[in-house]
């Protein structure tokens, strides 16, 4: 069984999956923000460190491409989702669906004020 992913990890992996061949640090950041997954502005440091961590875990692989003049000749690192990454995403989604099954209706009708003072 794959490790369950955190919310931020899911956002990043889904952004890489969406971008396909064009997934590099900045494009992943833009895609993650555009997806509306987070209402707050994402920090670049958080995105790059998460990409690193996901690659270490084997959920992503990367390749380097030669740098363009507008990057000062610096290489660009492109990421791709691995089979393990897909398994981890599916596993996490299934687990969340299982946890939420039957709870949504209860949450809608839940009124915390009803229970105040009962203890």
């Amino acid at each position: 069984m794959a490790e369950l992913l955190g919310t931020f990890e899911q956002i990043i992996l889904l952004a890489v999956m969406t971008l396909e061949e064009d997934a590099y640090g900045r494009s992943v950041l833009r895609e993650s923000q555009a997806s509306g997954a987070s209402e707050r502005t994402m920090a670049a440091g958080a995105v790059y460190s998460t990409l690193d961590r996901l690659e270490e875990k084997g959920y992503l692989v990367s390749r380097l491409e030669a740098g363009m003049p507008e990057r000062g000749g610096r290489a660009r690192r492109f990421y791709r989702l691995t089979a393990n990454g897909v398994v981890a995403l599916n596993e996490t989604r299934r687990t969340l669906v299982r946890i939420w099954r039957g709870k949504q209706r209860k949450l809608k009708t839940w009124s915390p004020s009803k229970y105040i003072g009962e203890a």
């Binding site: 920090a43 440091g45 690193d52 380097l64 491409e65 030669a66 610096r74 290489a75």
Partner: protein
């Protein structure tokens, strides 16, 4: 700012991340002006600091723990001396401040391993080793044994040894400032 970013990033990501940010800074400068682009770039670089700090400090967990412990001890000694104001407390305030500053300097060195910071940190270790020796010697010749001073002196000595160990194992930062393109994988 670019130099700070180089220090914050690992060898593996240095060129690629800086390249991404430089490329976007250029695009922003053309679109919204140079000042906007520079402010954006500075904020982006600073956004790396907390992540790098947590990552590098957890990598050197033992040294970080000793630094936090000695910093707390220094702050406690300083606060106690300031409150009690026994004769000669000004000198002891200086010692407490030195202990706190050295701990903070060592933590800064872990996050930003710049050459200057390393040199200052290593110079500081000589200071805390001397303080540890002086404190230990003082306790041994004092009829009233102060166990907490021996403990703090021991922690300072271990902090100094661990600092040297970490600095000697770190790669020199000067070599990473070249703008070479990493080999294609």
């Amino acid at each position: 700012m670019t130099r700070l970013l180089y220090l914050l990033l690992s060898d593996r990501n240095r060129d690629t991340v800086v390249g991404d940010l430089v490329e976007e800074r250029r695009a922003r400068a053309a679109e919204k002006g140079a000042i906007h682009a520079e402010v954006w770039f500075a904020l982006e670089v600073l956004s790396f600091v907390p992540h790098v700090a947590v990552s590098r400090c957890s990598k050197h967990f033992v040294l970080t723990s000793f630094c936090l412990f000695t910093a707390l001890c220094g702050a406690w000694l300083g606060a106690m001396d300031l409150r009690l104001r026994h004769p000669g407390y000004i000198g002891r305030e200086g010692i407490a401040l030195t202990i706190v500053l050295q701990a903070l300097l060592t933590l800064s060195m872990l996050v930003l391993p710049a050459c200057v910071v390393k040199v200052l940190t290593l110079a500081g270790t000589c200071g805390i080793v001397w303080l540890a020796f002086k404190a230990f010697n003082g306790v041994m010749h004092d009829p009233h044994f102060e166990g907490y001073i021996v403990l703090i002196a021991f922690a300072l000595a271990v902090q100094a040894v661990l600092t040297w160990h970490v600095v000697l194992r770190q790669r020199p930062t000067g070599t990473v400032l070249s703008r070479t393109t990493a080999p294609l994988q």
